[in-house]
């Protein structure tokens, strides 16, 4: 059993081809810009989407322990109360009040993922396990990936790489493609912005390259205003990317997660921060140029959908 907060079909940014992404709940990091705050806590929790509420008041006395109440226009409830997804669905007709996260077996997950199998074969796509952090549920992740392997699926994980090496290693034996974040090389900044040191992350990734020399690694950096949006920041990461012979991609900071903070009654840690478009374009050019000048393989840009997925193999262990 594991805790899943979403299974998304026809995903095209999280690995090659047409993929189904399984988002697991729970993350060891607390990135200030996190766009999926509901994925951080490892257990199911209640959320409320203001825009979908029609103020039918069905929830007010609907679930006793929850003690729902409106204060002005916002709904509040007892966040420590346990409750069941069915109960929540029962009281709320629109799904504005909803339970985030569901306990599922690996078999149940696979049943949903496998639905899109015809598209995986045709596109060189497959399954991506993401989160939250898949390595926080290593056994569950392994179990799903093993089932996927038995079905000839291309398997990717999307991880922050912050996990005990033994867990990481166990999972990687079941993985064809690793997507990972490197947010900054500066440890102080990393601690301040994500709550943890980057030492373990970098060490893990070096070990991945050493022990899994043919595994394609795709490193991504979310460019966050005031955190890692200088040329020096990106150049430092690039050096590391070259060291572990990975592909690379920058992702621009966005604010799409803001309503989710509101629905959890949490303050959005990034305030009004905005990413300077021009600055971002400069960084992207810098990364593209840097890759262009590299003598050995590797590429910049999102994972490629390629004819029948052939060169997902060629991309493996770029530069070897």
């Amino acid at each position: 059993m594991g805790t899943v907060f979403n299974i998304q079909h026809f995903s095209i940014h999280d690995g090659p081809g047409i993929r189904t992404v399984v988002f697991l709940k729970g993350c060891p990091l607390r990135c200030r810009w996190c766009a999926n705050p509901e994925s951080q806590s490892p257990t199911p929790q209640i959320g409320w989407t203001k825009g979908e509420c029609i103020h039918c008041n069905g929830c007010l006395n609907g679930i006793k322990d929850l003690n729902c109440r409106f204060e002005e226009d916002d709904l509040f409830w007892d966040t420590t109360a346990k409750c069941d997804a069915k109960e929540v669905k029962r009281v709320c007709p629109t799904g504005a009040l909803h339970l985030m996260g569901e306990e599922m077996t690996a078999g149940e997950v696979m049943e949903e993922v496998e639905k899109d199998a015809p598209f995986f074969v045709a596109s060189g796509g497959g399954i991506t396990i993401s989160g939250g952090e898949p390595l926080l549920q290593p056994d569950f992740t392994c179990e799903i990936l093993k089932l996927a392997g038995k079905r000839n699926m291309h398997r990717a994980i999307e991880s922050c790489s912050y996990a005990p090496w033994e867990d990481f290693k166990k999972v990687l034996h079941q993985v064809d493609y690793l997507l990972t974040d490197v947010k900054t090389m500066d440890d102080e900044t990393h601690k301040k912005q994500t709550g943890v040191s980057n030492e373990l992350i970098l060490e893990n990734l070096r070990r991945v390259r050493k022990e899994f020399p043919y595994l394609p690694i795709h490193v991504r950096t979310p460019v966050i205003p005031g955190v890692n949006d200088s040329k020096e920041d990106i150049e430092a990461i690039l050096a590391f990317v070259y060291e572990i012979r990975a592909n690379y991609e920058l992702l621009p900071y966005h604010r799409l997660g803001v309503p989710k903070y509101e629905s959890l009654h949490r303050v959005y840690p990034m305030g009004n921060a905005e990413l300077d478009t021009e600055k971002y374009m400069e960084l992207e050019t810098c990364a593209v140029m840097s890759f262009a000048q590299r003598p050995l393989g590797g590429q910049y840009g999102p994972p490629k959908t390629t004819p029948r997925g052939i060169d997902t193999m060629l991309m493996g262990g770029a530069g070897i």
Binding site: I54, K115, A122
Partner: protein, 830 residues
């Protein structure tokens, strides 16, 4: 990867050119633009000549065999109709005045002429201009003759009470009820494709010889030969003479114009037109130009003959034109750009013809002046091997460069389709104007074989109309077929055989008071009682239509291009043709609406018991006014199009019931009736008579279209839409035909090389799942919303409506809304 909006090439062009339509091929652009700008801003105008001369001839031939009367009328028209040669045109043969024109077919539904004259200019859907002189001709010469003689009047008077009640308002037979809609009274023949190859290679002199030879073989002692067949072959001979005469008049006209022409280049062009029109279609064509001109003469002459559903289609153009193109290229007579220019000239001719519907139901079903003159490319040959050639690629290239909605390009896809073709098809789809639509050989060919076709005929099918297919020498069924409103079936179930729009009148049968149902099974049983009753009425309606159709229409021209008609001496519109494969259909409209409605009741009332039937019925009665919580409950029940077995199983049973009904009763009807899901734009008028439904849909709004999900509910992405389609098919049964499948994607979803690869992969998976049809709208929702606000900037914006693309700004507001609400699968990934 910045969150800048990605635009499709079509959107970029519209933005850059401020709505002005631009032809991309550099070499032919000046000519094409001159032709196009000569007509594009004009209003669509009615041309009465065809109707007038047809009527004149019919007045003279009463009592004679119908096929002979038709042939004589064609000859009379060919002799007298004005012949035009447009400036700059290289291809000739229009059947109406310069500019955008539509024709009238008074023999079909001339009883609406009076009403039409009054409303033509101002109606919301596809208005037409008409001159006062032409109004005079209609009022004095045309309408009076046809009074009491039209097919429509005959049909409406022939329907028994039970059928009449669900077809027309019994008190006003000119007003449709949109429950079981007949479609045979707004088109005189089903979508069709001729054997153009025969016309091009034999010529009509050759076909005339063939008819003479058949006459010489007739047994004069057998009256079936000496009367019936003789009349048919005589009709063919007259028809051959008619088209040759008509072409020859173009030749004379071109010669005349050449004499007066000062520009030496144009003079040479006119002389070449004169030479070609003198030669084809009488004689076999020898070059690409001649073959194309020959085909176009046939194509346009068909329009004079019949109001064929969706207008006659063009068949497998890349196949029958290929030998000429290959030879010309080899011998240096033509280059790719010259061939594209000639093809573009054909499309510009097509674009000026406007499919005119004079009955209110006809126009509501076929918005946007649409005529789906499909051109088929790709697919396999008779032997099953891939048939694509350089001409197939040239036509895709031409489509990317040519900004109009003609022709309706259809690409056949099969297991052996080369990757190059898949790729170029994807790149063309990415342009964003909805072309080409895709048809799947892997589903269609086995289906045709199961219906009795040979391998060779089945593999040589051509696309015709929206998503239909024809085997040009083997298909023989031509009566248009009924459309069934599944939204109405839901309402009839919940109102015990009645509908709110029609008061207390019992329209069908009583299937029980829903409040008395104790289980979901009771509800579904009642639904199938209504579905069965409606199907029964639809089949009765078709039985009558089949019989009347043969009494009202003949097609000597179409017959001359049909192997079996020529062999048997039978007109194509006969009730039955020996040796033919007769395939008809019935359409379910509102499939998603019905499945979602049943699923919502199952979930909320019977499984979870959150709502009572009384509460739901009460909310429906109020059109959800003040009952938003109930509506939300219903909206949040499982919806078709999300690959959710809960609702897909219900949808599959609705489908199965229809297909089994077809298998059981087709024989009695003498035609194989197949269940289809092709709505064209009928989901809008059908929705307008249906009150609120338990899927959360408000009263009078559109039903779901084709086999697509209800508007906006397909939240699991395009793979789930495709898979829901796949999992609701009953592939163990035979009487199934096309399912129209719309996928809307944002340009960002198919951006770049990866996007092309993804689209190609998507098409491959669709092919492997053996789904019939697939088409894409690659467009940003913002573009559509802006086009509604600023139509003048978006005159050239093409969107996929159903089996066809149309100019968005020419559609009625309710159909525009419907298109906007079809989900755009935009937010992939995060």
């Amino acid at each position: 990867m910045m969150s800048q909006k990605v635009l499709s090439p079509q959107e970029e062009r519209i933005l850059k050119n401020k709505g002005r339509v631009v032809f991309l091929d550099e070499k032919s652009r000046p000519r094409l633009e001159r032709i196009y700008y000569g007509f594009c801003d004009e209003k669509s105008v009615v041309d009465v000549q065809r109707a007038r001369f047809f009527t004149e001839s019919f007045r003279e031939t009463e009592g004679q065999p119908l096929t002979l009367r038709w042939a004589k009328a064609l000859y009379h028209i060919a002799e007298h109709i004005d012949v035009y040669i447009e400036e700059d045109q290289l291809i000739v043969g229009r059947v109406g005045r310069p500019g955008k024109y539509g024709l009238i077919y008074p023999e079909l539904d001339g009883c609406f002429l009076k009403q039409f004259i009054g409303q033509a200019r101002d109606r919301a859907e596809s208005p037409f201009d008409i001159s006062s002189q032409d109004i005079g001709i209609i009022e004095e010469e045309i309408a009076p003759y046809w009074k009491g003689k039209t097919y429509y009047e005959d049909l409406s008077l022939s329907l028994p009470d039970d059928v009449l009640k669900v077809t027309y308002d019994p008190k006003d037979r000119f007003s449709s009820r949109y429950i079981v809609n007949e479609s045979s009274a707004w088109r005189s023949a089903l979508q069709w494709v001729h054997d153009y190859k025969k016309g091009i290679t034999c010529g009509f002199n050759g076909i005339r010889e063939e008819a003479l030879k058949e006459i010489s073989l007739l047994n004069d002692m057998d009256p079936r030969d000496s009367i019936d067949k003789k009349a048919f072959y005589d009709a063919v001979i007259i028809t051959c003479d008619a088209i040759v005469l008509w072409a020859h008049r173009h030749s004379l006209k071109a010669s005349e114009m050449a004499e007066k022409e000062h520009d030496p280049k144009r003079k040479a062009e006119l002389l070449e037109i004169a030479r070609i029109a003198d030669k084809v279609p009488a004689q076999p064509a020898e070059t690409f130009y001649e073959a194309l001109q020959s085909q176009y003469f046939m194509q346009m002459f068909s329009r004079i003959e019949q109001k064929t559903g969706a207008t006659i289609s063009n068949g497998r153009m890349d196949q029958y034109l290929w030998p000429y193109y290959e030879k010309d290229v080899k011998e240096g007579r033509i280059d790719p750009s010259g061939a594209k220019e000639l093809l573009s000239c054909v499309w510009l001719g097509m674009a000026q013809y406007q499919d005119l519907y004079i009955s209110p139901a006809g126009v509501k079903f076929n918005e946007g002046y649409a005529h789906w003159e499909a051109v088929t490319i790709g697919g396999c040959d008779a032997n099953g091997e891939d048939a694509t050639n350089e001409l197939s690629y040239l036509m895709l290239e031409n489509k990317r460069e040519f900004p109009l909605n003609y022709p309706d390009l259809a690409a056949r896809i099969h297991l052996g389709t080369p990757e190059r073709f898949l790729r170029e098809v994807s790149e063309t789809i990415k342009e964003g104007s909805g072309f080409p639509k895709l048809l799947n050989d892997e589903e269609i060919i086995p289906g045709l074989i199961a219906h009795g076709a040979t391998y060779a005929d089945a593999r040589d099918y051509a696309v015709s109309g929206c998503t239909e297919v024809r085997m040009p020498n083997l298909d023989t069924f031509t009566t248009a077929c009924p459309w069934i409103n599944l939204g109405a079936v839901v309402e009839l179930t919940l109102r015990n055989g009645r509908m709110k729009a029609y008061g207390d009148e019992l329209l069908t049968v009583e299937s029980g008071d829903p409040k008395s149902f104790t289980s979901y099974e009771d509800l579904e049983r009642a639904f199938f009682i209504q579905e069965e009753y409606i199907l029964k009425l639809a089949f009765k309606q078709q039985y009558i239509a089949n019989r009347l159709h043969a009494k009202h229409f003949a097609s000597p021209f179409g017959s001359s291009l049909h192997r079996l008609c020529m062999k048997n001496g039978q007109d194509l519109h006969s009730e039955h043709i020996d040796g033919g494969v007769e395939i008809g259909f019935f359409d379910f409209i509102g499939y998603g609406t019905a499945a979602d409605s049943l699923a919502a009741l199952k979930k909320t009332v019977y499984d979870e018991k959150i709502l009572s039937m009384e509460e739901v019925l009460g909310a429906l009665e109020k059109d959800f006014l003040g009952e938003e919580a109930i509506r939300q409950r219903l909206l949040h029940a499982p919806k078709y199009g999300n690959d959710d077995a809960y609702v897909d199983e219900i949808a599959k049973r609705i489908d199965r019931f229809g297909v089994e009904f077809g298998e059981k009763y087709s024989e009695k009807l003498g035609v194989q009736m197949d269940l289809r899901y092709v709505s064209q734009s009928s989901n809008v008028p059908f929705g307008s008579v249906v009150s609120a439904t338990p899927n959360g849909r408000r009263a009078q709004t559109a039903l779901s279209d084709g086999a697509s999900a209800s508007q906006g509910v397909d939240e699991k992405g395009p793979t789930a839409v495709v898979l829901s389609n796949f999992r609701t098919k009953n592939s163990d049964l035979k009487n199934r035909a096309s399912r129209l499948l719309n996928i809307k994607m944002s340009p960002a979803g198919v951006e770049g090389e990866s996007g092309t690869q993804r689209l190609t992969a998507f098409i491959r998976a669709w092919r492997d799942l053996r789904l019939w049809h697939l088409q894409f709208n690659i467009i940003n929702q913002e573009t559509l919303l802006d086009a509604q606000k600023n139509p003048e900037l978006y005159r050239g914006l093409l969107v996929r409506v159903a089996g066809y693309s149309a100019y968005f700004v020419q559609l009625s507001p309710s159909l525009q809304d419907d298109i906007i609400r079809r989900t755009g699968h935009e937010t992939f990934g995060r």
